[in-house]
């Protein structure tokens, strides 16, 4: 594994470059096809409202996929991720317009561990609300 960030160059508190990811209805249809998750709450407004949701919501796994990009773009090697977990705390509501929703993700090094690994704690919000909790990744650095 050849991550581009060196273990010796990071400290607890080192911030990873934050990113914003946009998600529209078209994004969700594309993700449904690629992932095989065709639950209608992710594309059918009528169905979503019938089951008590405010509108169509993004797949939790879509949000999880975006959030780890803050880590994999930082290290360069996505294969350096050793461990990754999240809790889905609030849905990302995606309105039926050109703007859709955005997911803002930041991360910082929370601990330096053995074997050149660090724990990164991620924060993901959409419309001002935290959408992931306990969002942590362990990644091996160079």
């Amino acid at each position: 594994m050849t991550a581009k960030i060196s273990y010796d160059d990071v400290e607890v508190g080192t911030e990873l470059p934050a990113q914003t990811f946009s998600v529209t209805r078209a994004t969700l249809v594309q993700y449904a096809g690629a992932s095989g998750d065709f639950n209608p709450i992710h594309w059918n407004e009528k169905f979503a409202k019938e089951v008590g949701l405010p509108d169509v919501i993004a797949h939790g796994m879509f949000t999880m996929a975006e959030a780890i990009r803050v880590v994999t773009d930082w290290t360069g090697d996505p294969g350096a991720v050793v461990d990754y977990g999240v809790r889905f705390t609030k849905p990302v509501v995606v309105p039926n317009d050109d703007q859709g929703a955005s997911i803002e993700v930041s991360g910082k090094v929370a601990a330096k561990l053995d074997d050149n690994t660090v724990r990164v704690d991620l924060v993901a919000t959409s419309a001002g609300q935290k959408v992931l909790g306990m969002s942590r990744a362990v990644v091996r650095l160079a």
Binding site: T2, P78, Y84
Partner: protein
């Protein structure tokens, strides 16, 4: 209705192998807008020390969740899937999933809890390659929300 605690620890038979294709990885990477060349360019993946293109970290969920269907749809367990939401998700990787892998999943029910009328089910999916080597373990927490009163 509370789920039967006697299902805790139950393992389901390994799934038939899922063959990971380069183009499926590309399709997934495009769907999440991730342009990392390790997902699409075998040379770029090799430069990072991988024998072929690798999959984004969450790609394997499609495979483990399908395998978890054995648990979710087990009529003896009796989970009301129409009320299920995804609570937590965690992965622990021995190595990244890569093109050419033939992966099998063994699903085990790790825990069943009942809280405020909600049924909470923890499923572990162990993913192995064709050689029987461990690739990744996925833990999925599903919450079946309590049915509304009356």
């Amino acid at each position: 209705m509370a789920l039967d605690q006697s299902f805790v620890g139950r393992s389901y038979p390994p799934t038939d192998p899922y063959e990971v294709g380069r183009e499926k990885i590309r399709e997934f990477a495009e769907a999440v807008g991730d342009t990392n060349p390790a997902y699409t360019d075998p040379e770029a993946a090799k430069a990072l020390g991988h024998s072929d293109v690798i999959a984004p970290p969450t790609f394997v969920f499609s495979i483990t969740f399908k395998a978890a269907g054995q648990v979710v749809q087990d009529p003896q367990l009796g989970l009301d899937y129409s009320r299920v939401v995804h609570g937590d998700q965690k992965f622990a990787y021995t190595r990244p999933v890569r093109a050419g892998d033939r992966l099998t999943v063994t699903s085990t029910i790790e825990a069943i809890k009942s809280m405020a009328g909600n049924d909470i089910l923890d499923i572990r999916g162990e993913v192995h390659d064709e050689a029987g080597e461990h690739v990744v373990t996925a833990w999925t927490k599903l919450v079946a929300r309590a049915a509304e009163e009356g």
